[in-house]
């Protein structure tokens, strides 16, 4: 047990009520502890992930501290012993309103057609503060930035309010460094270097900037119209796959409690929308485990024989944000990750070959749509190496949020839908495929299969609690029939960078490392319903995913009967030549190059 330090506490008064807090507590946190909800805009705190953004920039949270001449921003002002604070005097309310009017003065007033409408923190705040007019609009200068559309993310900087949450996610949490505050005064904005398009920056399309943006400045590229067009086209067979994390979050968009599993309703909704076949990315997750798990065993086997080319540790490669990250930042290590494609891409490759043949549909007449918690998946599906003669394995990738919107547009009463089952054969999955949505899930799924294949023994327990949790970097040692397999797990790219730096320096003790780009894994992906800074939502989603795994009759990938059938009928063995051709890929060096002029 760690010795418990006695906390030094102080007493103060907020809105005529006494409160005792730990020394160093901000006024904002002290007030929230008492149930006084001081409004904030730029401030964001993801408690369980130790992520806090408090630039003290927006000044919406100002309060009156007795004895101080100026109003103080509650999010960055620490409580003093004996302080007397008032959070809603006429002076405070007036200041708050004025601040809001200034923020709105150059903000576009196109709420009716803004993609963030209804989910916008700025809109909510204007409503909460009762803003009914913005003085001086007729003479106000509007900011004018050009709109930047990348394969995954749209930046509409006229709507940027300089809260700098995206900058914090991109630099502190993800250490990607694509975005920074640039310029000053009226022209100040968050942008990539030289204000280039995101496409020419080291952006990984993880979408965490989009997930925390309070306004419509950062949104995803919407593909729902193209999907609808494909569905109504009688010459097209439209196949849909849904990622594991979607089922644990989609319900939130329809007013359900975070962590409500909606797998059955999700399938029913997709059928209602008119997809010809509703399949599960979890099937492809099982397939990933067969390929990646086999690669893991081969590489560890070589390592045990003392082979210098064993290439240990093996890194997971399911997460496209993570793949983009190492291509930009660690191109010297591009042979270290598994060559296995991500489940989304494996699904596309199998759907447009094996399944297309089965139902006698030509490749060009099949459209594969994926529902993903992720924005990087949009970019991934457009990578040229994942197409055959210009026809992509996955035609469109839409996010959980886009799907919710799609369902509403189709007048579907989601909450009252019956539970339905995925179609066969690409809709059957094991519990191992489901947990891909959580940090630690991919490696747990791989361990379940690799252990049983390596030792020839059945696992007595399938829940590897040592691989689960929300800590940014975790490690565990699993006994592989006498051989201790060291496993590292990182979620959030900043944490991944720590493990990668060790690998680069030759100091890593791990044999296998799982990385997911987003905090919490796919459940916290950039395409998920917005959590607005409430990290308990992520925990609830993670719990739901483990629930679904527990309730599955089959919980290891290699026992999925349709996976066994796929190898028997089509692929042969895991890592066979055909499997390599369809299910594996290679990586590129995308680091900025300095060329010497002659």
């Amino acid at each position: 047990m760690r010795a418990r330090l006695k906390m030094e506490t102080i007493k103060l008064t907020i809105d005529n009520k006494q409160v005792e807090v730990e020394k160093g507590t901000t006024i904002l946190n002290a007030a929230r502890k008492m149930g006084i909800d001081i409004p904030t805009l730029c401030h964001m705190h993801l408690h369980d992930l130790n992520i806090e953004n408090k630039p003290g920039g927006c000044r919406i949270c100002v309060v009156e501290v007795h004895g101080r001449r100026n109003l103080s921003p509650a999010c960055i002002t620490k409580c003093d012993d004996g302080a007397v604070i008032r959070t809603h005097t006429p002076r405070v309310l007036n200041a708050r309103r004025t601040v809001m009017e200034f923020i709105l003065s150059d903000h576009p007033k196109d709420c009716l057609i803004c993609p963030k409408s209804g989910h916008c923190d700025l809109q909510d705040m204007a409503n909460r503060l009762g803003i009914r007019e913005i003085p001086g609009q007729e003479i106000a200068e509007m900011s004018t930035y050009r709109k930047d559309t990348s394969p995954s993310i749209i930046r509409e900087l006229d709507k940027c309010i300089m809260c700098r949450r995206c900058e914090m996610m991109c630099n502190e949490v993800q250490t990607v460094g694509a975005l920074s505050a640039v310029n000053r005064g009226f022209m100040a904005v968050v942008a990539p270097a030289f204000e280039q398009n995101l496409e020419y920056s080291p952006c990984t399309y993880c979408g965490q900037c989009v997930a925390v943006c309070p306004t419509g400045a950062l949104t995803e590229v919407d593909h729902t119209r193209e999907v609808l067009r494909a569905i109504v086209d009688p010459t097209k067979t439209v196949v849909v796959q849904t990622a594991p994390a979607v089922r644990a979050a989609l319900g939130e968009e329809f007013g359900m409690k975070p962590g409500t599993l909606v797998t059955g309703k999700l399938v029913a909704a997709l059928k209602e929308l008119g997809f010809d076949f509703v399949f599960d990315t979890d099937f492809a997750a099982d397939l990933t485990i067969m390929e990646e798990g086999t690669e893991l065993l081969t590489r560890v086997g070589k390592f045990l024989k003392g082979d210098k080319d064993a290439n240990i540790p093996i890194l997971t490669s399911c997460c496209p944000g993570w793949v983009n990250f190492f291509e930009h930042n660690f191109p010297d290590l591009k042979d270290v990750p598994s060559t296995a494609k991500s489940p989304q891409q494996m699904f596309g490759a199998i759907a447009k070959t094996y399944f297309a043949d089965k139902i006698n549909v030509r490749r060009q007449d099949m459209v594969v749509v994926s529902i993903m918690p992720c924005l990087a998946k949009k970019y991934e599906s457009q990578r040229p190496e994942f197409a055959v003669d210009g026809n992509p394995d996955v035609d469109f990738s839409i996010s959980t949020r886009e799907l919710a919107h799609f369902i509403r547009q189709a007048n579907i009463d989601f909450n009252n839908l019956p539970d339905m089952d995925f179609d066969r054969p690409l809709g059957e999955s094991s519990g191992a495929g489901v947990i891909f949505g959580n940090t630690g899930g991919v490696i747990e799924a791989a361990v379940r299969t690799a252990y049983e294949l390596h030792t020839g023994k059945k696992l007595s327990r399938l829940d590897f609690d040592e691989l689960r949790g929300m800590e940014g970097v975790r490690q565990a040692t699993i006994d592989f029939g006498g051989f201790p397999l060291n496993i590292g797990i990182a979620h959030g790219l900043g944490n991944a960078r720590k493990l990668l730096d060790e690998v680069r320096a030759g100091r890593s003790k791990f044999h296998a490392i799982e990385v997911m780009a987003c905090p919490g894994g796919c459940i916290g992906g950039g395409g998920q319903p917005l959590h607005h800074g409430d990290s308990s939502i992520l925990k609830a989603r993670a719990k739901a995913i483990y629930e679904e795994d527990k309730n599955k009759p089959i919980r290891v990938s290699h026992e999925n009967p349709y996976i066994i059938q796929l190898y028997k009928e089509f692929l042969g063995e895991p890592n066979s030549e055909k499997a390599h051709h369809l299910l594996h890929t290679h990586y590129f060096d995308r680091k900025a190059k300095i060329i010497i002029k002659q």
């Binding site: 630099n171 990607v176 460094g177 694509a178 975005l179 920074s180 505050a181 640039v182 310029n183 000053r184 942008a191 990539p192 270097a193 030289f194 496409e199 020419y200 920056s201 080291p202 970019y379 060096d589 995308r590 680091k591 900025a592 190059k593 300095i594 060329i595 010497i596 002029k597």
Partner: protein, 160 residues
């Protein structure tokens, strides 16, 4: 998405690396590194910022953020003899604006521009801490105090 390619001469890359090394490549020294680099090149083009970012292990966006925040840094080449006129309060009330107008007239350029022959560039700044000498003009490293509009021609002549 294609890789960004930056073209620079070897001696320029060497010089930038040397400057970064002299500050131990410490990210907190970024502003000092940018100062020294601008002193050498006269300005901070995108290519130079990329090299600094790479060498000091800082995001290029961050370097660009600092360059665009401080008005001292510039991404356009300055003249061989950069002229700065102090427009701080003390200089302003003692007639700095008239001095500036005279420079604009003589050089036929506006603030932020460089003469066609690349000899002079014009900028205004806020207070150099020599208020006792107001109005103050800087040409390169040299400081001129109590400058009157009539002095402008003579100052320019020194650099011909």
């Amino acid at each position: 998405m294609s890789s960004i390619k930056i073209e620079l001469r070897q001696q320029d890359v060497d010089k930038i690396n040397e400057i970064c090394d002299s500050f131990n490549n410490d990210p907190v020294e970024l502003i000092n590194v940018l100062h020294k680099t601008q002193e050498h090149f006269g300005y901070l083009p995108a290519e130079v910022q990329e090299v600094i970012a790479d060498k000091m292990n800082i995001a290029t966006a961050r370097v660009y953020g600092v360059v665009t925040f401080y008005s001292f840094f510039t991404m356009t080449p300055k003249g061989k003899h950069p002229i700065s006129i102090c427009m701080g309060t003390a200089c302003y009330v003692r007639g700095a604006e008239k001095v500036l107008d005279e420079f604009k007239k003589e050089l036929a350029i506006q603030v932020g521009q460089t003469t066609g022959d690349g000899k002079f560039s014009l900028s205004s700044l806020r207070c150099v801490g020599a208020c006792g000498l107001a109005p103050v003009v800087l040409v390169g490293d040299k400081t001129y105090g109590r400058v009157a509009p009539d002095d402008v021609k003579a100052i320019l002549k020194e650099y011909e």
